[in-house]
């Protein structure tokens, strides 16, 4: 669905998405990394369970919510990938927390 621009540069970092290993580029946001990895949605909504994917990519629409390193409802478009990051599809309501 999405392809990286030829001139895009940067080191690759390793993340997991739903437990599977993926490569992302240093500087990618989590939302961009999910799109680049070919995911067509990143969560299901908390009430109706409809699938949602990143949309505005600038922190406004809250449709790119994902679970990052165990914490739900993080805005994927505002958080940059880190090596070793655990990204999980958010299915429905977020966890209550510890």
């Amino acid at each position: 669905m999405f392809q990286r621009l030829l001139e895009s540069q940067g080191a690759m970092v390793r993340v997991t998405i739903d437990g599977q290993p993926y490569e992302a580029r240093d500087g990618d946001t989590v939302a961009a990394a999910l799109l680049a990895a070919g995911f067509d949605h990143c969560r299901t909504t908390p009430v109706s369970g409809a699938a949602r994917s990143p949309y505005c990519m600038m922190g406004v629409c809250f449709d790119c919510l994902v679970t990052i390193d165990g914490t739900g409802n993080r805005q994927g478009c505002l958080i940059r990938v880190r090596d070793g990051m655990r990204i999980t599809m958010q299915r429905g309501k977020r966890e209550l927390g510890q």
């Binding site: 908390p46 009430v47 914490t71 409802n73 309501k93 977020r94 966890e95 209550l96 927390g97 510890q98």
Partner: protein, 377 residues
């Protein structure tokens, strides 16, 4: 009479389209009255959109056992009321009655709560209210997520909650399905009593009705003198915070914390004298702090909204149901518990208004005559 003027002629006009007015209007339409609801526009500062959605019995009626009876009666008729609205509109009010808690965070608060509940329930003429003062362990058995500083709670099996926005929508829809005419942007400027009926001059034109019910919340203070009544009400600000939707964890409503059917956690409880509905950080900070001490896991959740709304408070905090001696056929209904009392407003009060006369026992307890007693008496 032409069609246009006939269409503006009603058996009864309800002024105010919030929860109180809508409950009464639905109840009136339900018994065959031709009803008009004269409402403000979308900008209306409504308690009906800011409330906490509790159907609450415990702690109601200190100083007036009749109010406790009235509240319990309303709470007991809620299941049938919610069912009927659901059958009519298809809207689920998410009504539940698992019982409710009032949590205490210090020993002093617990003792204070215990004393208050004893004072309340030992009043002569009180209905039997099932409640229990619980210690920390007893509460923890029912609410496993409570924090270590919770000292206990009062628990009342009669308490419940609902989705009050759905209630509001269902009433509005249901009354119109039964033929009531809902008129938005019809703020009433003037009421004239004429020929056994009333002429209501509004921003949206004139409406005529045989009877009139003032159910306009705080605006009842302004409207009452137009029909020879005096309704002393004042606004009291309440603030609410709501968190992002989270996994269901809270089975029971708590007086100041409840999880909605969709997963958001509402935190509320402030009583401030105020005339505006502005959100203030010091108050919301206290709300959040108390909630996080009650349920430490709430501390990790994001807040998505906070709002303030104005409660409609009478001098003594109890409802007012009055009828005018000067202008027979004019009534007023004012209270701050529009959710809890919605069932009785629809199923008990409205049929009385349709008959055109409030019975002596209602008037004795709830009319404004109670404010006329000299201070020294």
């Amino acid at each position: 009479m032409n069609d246009a003027s006939r269409s503006r002629d009603f058996d009864i006009a309800v002024i105010g389209g919030g929860l109180v007015g809508s409950s009464i209007a639905w109840g009136l339409a339900r018994v065959g009255q031709r009803v008009a609801v004269l409402d403000e526009g979308d900008v209306a500062q409504r308690a009906s959109r800011g409330n906490f959605a509790l159907i609450w019995v415990q702690s109601k009626g200190l100083g007036m056992p009749a109010y406790s009876h009235w509240t319990l009666r309303a709470a007991n008729s809620w299941p049938g009321f919610a069912n009927e609205l659901k059958e009519q509109t298809g809207l689920d009010l998410c009504y539940e009655r698992p019982g409710g808690f009032h949590v205490t965070l210090t020993d002093r608060e617990w003792l204070h709560r215990d004393a208050l509940m004893k004072r309340l329930t030992s009043q002569p003429g009180m209905p039997a209210i099932e409640f229990e003062m619980m210690d920390h362990d007893r509460v923890k058995a029912m609410l496993p997520q409570i924090g270590p500083t919770v000292t206990g709670a009062s628990f009342c099996a009669a308490d419940g909650h609902c989705n009050s926005l759905r209630l509001f929508r269902a009433l509005n829809q249901a009354m119109q399905m039964l033929g009531a005419t809902y008129l938005s942007n019809h703020i009433v400027d003037r009421i004239e009593s004429a020929g056994g009926g009333f002429r209501l001059f509004t921003k949206g034109g004139e409406v005529r009705a045989g009877k009139v019910v003032l159910a306009a919340g705080i605006a009842n203070a302004r409207l009452a003198p137009m029909v020879g009544l005096n309704i002393p009400v004042r606004p009291q600000r309440g603030q609410i915070i709501v968190t992002e939707k989270t996994q269901p964890f809270l089975r029971y409503p708590i007086a100041t914390i409840r999880q909605t059917d969709e997963g958001g956690v509402m935190l509320g409880d402030s009583q401030e004298e105020a005339v505006d509905a502005v959100v203030g950080t010091p108050v919301t900070a206290v709300l959040a702090d108390r909630a996080a001490r009650t349920f430490p896991q709430l501390g990790g959740l994001n807040v998505v909204r906070s709002w303030a709304a104005l409660r409609v408070m009478t001098q003594d905090g109890f409802p007012i149901y009055s009828q005018s001696a000067a202008a027979p056929g004019a009534f007023a209904a004012t209270c701050h518990s529009g959710v809890t009392l919605a069932s009785s407003h629809a199923l008990v009060l409205a049929p009385l208004l349709a008959q055109g006369q409030l019975p002596a026992d209602v008037l004795h307890s709830f009319s404004t005559r109670r404010f006329d007693v000299p201070e020294a008496a």
